[in-house]
């Protein structure tokens, strides 16, 4: 994923507005698609969305910063979200967290220089009976162990 060209973004927003409509209620679906495609929502993207939905850019910024799955900073191709909520913690989240940090050479909250991986914590993802659990983009991984994590990371590298 590279920084998108302005024309590409304008076209993309155009397509999305046609797909979802130009009402305010289309804002979140549009932003979610931009996030998915480009890995973040740039200042320019926010301005363009605001322009096409006829709202103030500050409104768009307010929405983007409210939701933890939307970001103004570039995220990696693979966003890894490890659940840090209690049931996963009881099930051994710390060992998994240590393995992730070591194997990716990243701390939680960081994105790798090559924008391949982002490592984050998240709250309960509804897999509490099969913890520790994590999401990589939109896929879910359960009953994690250090060796399972190593295998998963290797397959993505």
């Amino acid at each position: 994923m590279i920084f998108p060209d302005k024309n590409v973004l304008v076209n993309e927003v155009d397509t999305l507005v046609r797909k979802y409509g130009n009402g305010r209620e289309s804002l979140l679906p549009i932003l979610q698609d931009i996030q998915r495609k480009f890995g973040f929502i740039s200042d320019f993207a926010m301005q363009e969305v605001a322009h096409q939905l006829n709202i103030h850019p500050v409104e768009v910024y307010g929405v983007v910063t409210f939701y933890s799955f939307l970001s103004t900073e570039p995220k990696g191709k693979y966003v890894i979200r490890l659940c840090k909520t209690i049931s996963c913690e009881l099930a051994g989240k710390d060992a998994v967290a240590n393995t992730l940090e070591r194997e990716l050479n990243l701390k939680f909250g960081e994105t790798s220089m090559d924008r391949k991986f982002t490592l984050e914590y998240c709250h309960c993802i509804g897999m509490c009976d099969q913890g520790p659990a994590m999401l990589i983009n939109e896929s879910v991984y359960t009953k994690l162990t250090p060796s399972k994590v190593i295998e998963i990371i290797e397959s993505l590298k």
Binding site: S68, T85, G126, D129, L135
Partner: protein
């Protein structure tokens, strides 16, 4: 999937033809049937579903909406995920029944972003319903038309609160609104809207297929029917259980084969933590109400560590709109840190409990109103343990 006694959800044969039956009745009759069943909302608060639908039906407007709350963000809950993925028909046709009952034209499923992997399955199912004329124009040859659209959340727990959810659907920050007005009058885009939990719609389906009397046979006086419970933590058989309301915590612990139990958190992070001396209490709206999250802690677990986890959750998930919740949760978390270091005197602990009680009253929405629950119940029920840390650094963890 483990079950006990009779079962509503997990027995395909019990499902029947609810939609057909509902569409042969008038909307008023459907609402009456739901009222008679005694069904109460399964999302946690337990508002009578029939009453909610009645209010929305009687509201005068040219558009009405149905919202299925699939935000399932309460720590320790996963039964809605299981219903959506394995008992899809009950949920989606339950929504169509709700739409018919209040005479709405459109429904939304607000699916948490974390469950985006369910999108494909749900959309395929919706497409099939449209082909079979169970969704779309003139459903099953009647004059009733209704469609369902899925909207994704984006990782904010507070968006499960119904007015924050509506804000989010409208393209705003997920900040709770003052109530009243309630969504049944002023909901999505200002139109009458019913917001119900995933399991509530599945229950409505079952009521319509088996009848109100049959449904009301199960459960207790004020909590009718069966409840799905998501069990995790220290036990041999975690998972989703379907149990009758009124089941004691003790019975549940036996069912899931928990041993050496010290404490049980009921209702997720916003619920309460009970010690073994209270396990004869039961799960129902009369005693311990819950959306269905049960987390078990054995004797090896540090209750302070548990409490810290919950308080970090609330500090991070508070939307920050109102002071009691924004500041109060930070204070409570600091209190936990002081307890860990053995620096929290009993007098200060009592002040924090009072602060928690203020938050319960003064916070704007359910998040801040319930976030002090684990703090108050853990420091009260496990006082000896949490007050045992030494100021000299033996932090007992």
């Amino acid at each position: 999937m483990p079950i006990i006694n009779d079962t509503l959800f997990f027995d395909e044969k019990a499902h029947g033809e609810a939609l057909e039956r509902a569409l042969m009745m008038s909307p008023q009759e459907v609402v009456m049937e739901i009222r008679e069943s005694g069904l109460r909302g399964r999302g946690g608060a337990g508002f009578p579903t029939g009453t909610k639908w009645m209010l929305a039906l009687s509201a005068k407007a040219d558009k009405k909406f149905v919202v299925c709350n699939a935000d399932e963000g309460e720590p320790g809950t996963f039964k809605d995920r299981v219903l959506l993925s394995e008992y899809t028909k009950l949920v989606l046709e339950g929504m169509v029944i709700g739409g018919y009952a209040i005479q709405a034209q459109k429904g939304f499923i607000y699916l948490r972003g974390e469950y985006a992997y369910l999108l494909e399955h749900l959309n395929t199912f919706l497409e099939r319903m449209r082909k079979e004329n169970r969704l779309g124009d003139n459903i099953l040859g009647t004059s009733f038309s209704f469609d369902i659209e899925i909207r994704l959340g984006s990782g904010a727990y507070v968006c499960g609160e119904e007015t924050a959810l509506i804000e989010s659907l409208e393209g705003h920050r997920g900040e709770a609104r003052n109530r009243p007005p309630f969504p049944v009058n002023t909901g999505y885009l200002g139109y009458p809207t019913i917001v119900n939990n995933v399991e509530t719609f599945a229950c409505a389906y079952i009521v319509m297929s088996k009848g109100a009397q049959w449904f009301a046979k199960y459960g207790t006086e004020k909590s009718k029917g069966m409840k799905l419970i998501s069990v995790s933590g220290d036990c041999k058989k975690p998972g989703v259980y379907e149990v009758p309301f009124g089941i004691t915590v003790k019975e549940l612990l036996e069912l899931v084969q928990a041993d050496r139990t010290k404490a049980v958190q009921i209702g997720g992070a916003s619920g309460i933590c009970i010690p073994m001396s209270e396990i004869n209490r039961n799960i129902s709206f009369e005693d311990i109400p819950t959306g269905g999250s049960v987390i078990i802690f054995n004797e090896d677990r540090s209750m302070l560590k548990v409490l810290r986890n919950f308080m970090e959750f609330f500090v991070e998930e508070s939307c920050g709109q109102c002071t009691p919740c924004r500041v109060g949760n930070k204070k409570l978390l600091e209190g936990v840190e002081m307890l860990e270091k053995g620096e929290c005197s009993h007098r200060y602990l009592n002040e924090l409990i009072e602060l928690g009680k203020t938050m319960q009253i003064a916070s704007k929405c359910g998040l801040g109103q319930s976030s002090p629950n684990p703090f108050i119940s853990i420091v009260t029920n496990f006082k000896d343990e949490i007050m045992s840390n030494s100021i000299r650094g033996n932090n007992g963890r």
